[in-house]
Amino acid sequence: MMESQIKAIHQKLVKKEISCSDLVKEKLNLLKPNTHNTVNSLLEDYALALAIKVDEKIANGETIGLLEGIPFGIKDVYMLKGTYTTASSDLLKNYKSAYTATAIQKLLDVGAIPIVKENCDSFGHGSSSENTIFGAVKNAINPELVAGGSSGGSAVNVAKEFTVFSIGGDTGGSIRQPAGYNGIYGLKPTYGRISRYGLMAYASSTDCVGPIAKSIEDIRIVLNVMSGKDVKDQTTYVSEPITEETIASNGSVKSVGYFKNFIKSEAIDPKVKSDFISVVEKIKAKGIKVKALDFFKSDTLVSTYYTLAMAETASNLSRLDGTNYGNRIEGDNLKDSYSITRSKNFSEETKRRIVGGNQVLSQGFSDEIYLKGLALRDQISRNFEDDFNEVDVIISPVTPGTPPKIGDSLKDPLAMYLSDAYTVGFSLGQLPTLTVPQGTETGLQITAAKDNDELVLKFANFLKDTI
C-alpha cells in the first residue's frame, strides 16, 4: 500500500529534486486532456503563480511547510474566490465565488496549491457522477464504469494521481463510495469537525467536508489542517490534532462489530459478501472479538436518509432563483422567471429531490413522513450509541455491489438510492467513517463513535497490516 505522497513530494521539493512549478505543470498537463471527465475548470494561472512563490522561498533557503506547494483538487461545490463554482449545474455554470470556503482557506494558509475544480453530481445529487453538465466521470480502474459519486471527479483524480489529494463532500456517502469504486482512501469525518462554510449546501444536517487520498497518512495530514471550530459554521467544534504516533499501532481496538443484515441482504453481491466474511475471520484470528450487531433494515435507512436530505435540499436550493446570480431565464413576471429558470436549469434528479422535499414538508405530509423520518433518525443515532458501548469500531462493506456501467444508473433512480444502503446510516449518525481500499472489491468502511476519528485511522493502519 502507498505511503504518504505528501511527504515524498515534500522531500523532493526541499532537496530541489523537482521545482514546484514543474510539479504543478506536470499535474496540469495530466488534467488537461480530461481523459476521465474529471475537470470542470483548471486553475492554471492561479496555481502557477503560487508555485513560483514556493520556488522563490526554496531558492532563498527558507523552510517550507509540509503542504506548501502540494497540488490538490477541489470538488466543484466549494467556494474559492474568483474561480468558477458550478456545482456541475446549468444554473451556476457561469457563477464565480465571491469568497473562499473555510476548509479551503486553511489549506491555502499552509501553502497547498489548488489546481482544479472537479466534476461531481450536480449539487451532490447522485451516486455515480453522471448527473452533471460536464459529462459522466469515468472510473479510474475501468473507464466503462461509473466513477461513483457524488465526489467522482475528486476520487478519480486522486486514483490516477492527477492530484496529490482532493477535497470531496459527503452527505450520504459521496466521498466513501467513489473512494471505494476507485480503490483509494476517503474520509467522512465526524459531522462538525470541519467547517461547512463555503460548501454549497445539499443537506445541512449531514453535509461533511473530507479528504480523499492514497494513504492513511495523507488523510491524517489534510484532516488536521482543515479541522477546527469556525464562527461561520455554528455546528463546528474544537478537536485535537491527530498525531502520526497515536495512529501508528493498534492496541485500543479490542472489539469490532458488523451489521448482520448488511451481510444477509439479498442485494449484496456474493463476492463482496464472501470477501467481507473472510475479513471478519482475519480480524478474529488476531484475537479481536467480533460481534454481529442488529441494525435497521436497508430500505428504512435509505428512506429515512432521502426523506430528510430531500427536505433539506428543497430548502437549501430555494435560493437558486436566478435573481441575484445564476442563469436567469426571463418569464412574464418575477414568479414566472423563477419557475422557468429553475425548470430549465436544474437536472431531472435535482428536480426530483426538490419536489420530494417540498412534498414531505407540506401540510398533511409532514407529520406522516418528515417528522416520522426525524424520529427514525433519532432512533438510529441511539442505536449507534448503544453499539459503541459494546464495540470499539464497526466495519461494513462500502457498497452492496460493484460499480455499474456508465448510463445504467440514470434509468432507475430507486435502484441508485438503494445502492447507498451501507453509507447513509453513518451519515444520519454523524459518525466518522473511512473507506479503505481493502477487503472487498469496493473497499471497507471503518466507523467509530462521534469525534473518534483518531480510532478510525488507527484501525485502518491495523487493517493495512492485517488483511
Binding site: K81, G82, Y95, K96, S97, A98, Y99, V231, Q234, T235, D299, T300, V302, S303, Y306, T307, M310, A314, S318, D321, G322, T323, N324, Y325, G326, N327, R328, E330, D332, N333, L334, K335, S337, Y338, S339, R342, S343, F346, K351, R352, I354, V355, G356, N358, Q359, V360, S362, E368, I369, L371, K372, G373, A375, L376, D378, Q379, D412, P413, L414, Y417
Partner: protein, 89 residues
Amino acid sequence: MSKIMTVDVLSSIKGSKPSEAVSKLFDVIKNAHPSNNSTFNSNHNKAVSIDDLREDVVIESSATERQIIKDNFPKEKNGYLVVSKVIEE
C-alpha cells in the same frame, strides 16, 4: 388562508410532478414504526452559547468581492442591475 398548492408551485419549478421512485421511499417511512414518534425532547443541546456568537459588526466587502457579485448578476442595463418585473397578487 388555506389554498391547495401543487408541488410545481411549491417548488417554483414549471411542470414538475411527484415521482414514483420517491413515493416508494415515502411509503417505507409511512409503514415504519419508530419507537418514539416525538422529536421534541431530543434536541441534543444543539443551541449555541452566547459567547460563541459572531461579533455583531458590519464587515465591508472588498472591491474584488463587490466586482464578482456584480459580475454574477444576470442582467445589467445602463449601469443598473435589473430584476424581473414584480407583480402584486
